[in-house]
Amino acid sequence: MQLEGQGRRAVIADGDRAVLELLQIRLDLAGYHTFLARTGPATLDMVRQVRPAVLLLDLDLPQLDGLGVLRQLNPRRAALPFPVLLMGARLEADVIREAAALGVKACLAKPFSGAEVVERVARLFRKPSPPVAAPRPSALV
């Protein structure tokens, strides 16, 4: 059976070890290959080393916060080569705007369940459905 993660490399960055281990187990079970970081600088190292398919990034990382990590990863504010899921307890509008400008694809407010995270990560890889073509006038008859 092909698992949703398909062996994709996922870097999980969170300062809270319970959250980190929870996400690791959930994503491992979903078929991702996980790598963990607990601080901002460690996240930067891990991302550069691993070249992940997806980054799960906590906003409140110690030493360098999630936005700081994104500013260093993406100084030109171009599109990132991998999707980022930003997680945080205080995801205010200005934070979300800044995160989007730095290439973040999705945000998830804490607290969340492990199942929600797996679902959100999977959604990042799903291709958007093609727009439904307008029916031809003759088809309406």
């Binding site: 070890r17 187990i25 491992d28 607290p111």
Partner: protein
């Protein structure tokens, strides 16, 4: 073992908001549930390699683990919900309760979540260390 004792002794006197305490509990319970799911997957793998006549006992175990996982997820959701409804201004002394925990890594994680020191006790191999004496 020494590191565990140091952590718990320094946690005495720690106070935390009620909301933060429920929130920390929610994460820990959710983590227990995730570990059940991992066990569930492992039992499933083992079952796959067994002859059909030996699978019955494991099927029973599998159902129990599955039920346990669901129970823990529900408790986690409950604790998370209560955390969201509770005023964090109300503080409770959590130090003694943390000091009484016999699982070093768990006490350390919860202490960190509740504003105490993080001693960096490792999960994994050290996670089962008991502070019994």
């Amino acid at each position: 073992m020494t590191a565990v004792r140091a952590t718990t002794e320094e946690s005495v006197g720690l106070e935390a908001g009620v909301a933060a305490t429920f929130n920390a509990l929610a994460w820990e319970i959710e983590l227990c549930g995730a570990r059940c799911l991992k066990l569930d997957a492992l039992i499933g793998e083992v079952m796959h390699g067994l002859p059909p006549e030996q699978r019955a006992r494991l099927t029973e175990g599998l159902h129990t683990v599955d039920l346990l996982a669901q129970q823990l997820m529900s408790l986690s959701a409950f604790s998370r919900r209560v955390s969201g409804l509770t005023d964090d201004e109300i503080r409770v002394p959590v130090g003694d309760a943390l000091a009484d925990m016999t699982l070093g890594a768990l006490a350390d994680r919860m202490s960190q979540s509740l504003g105490g020191d993080d001693k960096g006790l490792m999960d994994g191999e050290d996670a089962g260390d008991l502070d019994l004496f």
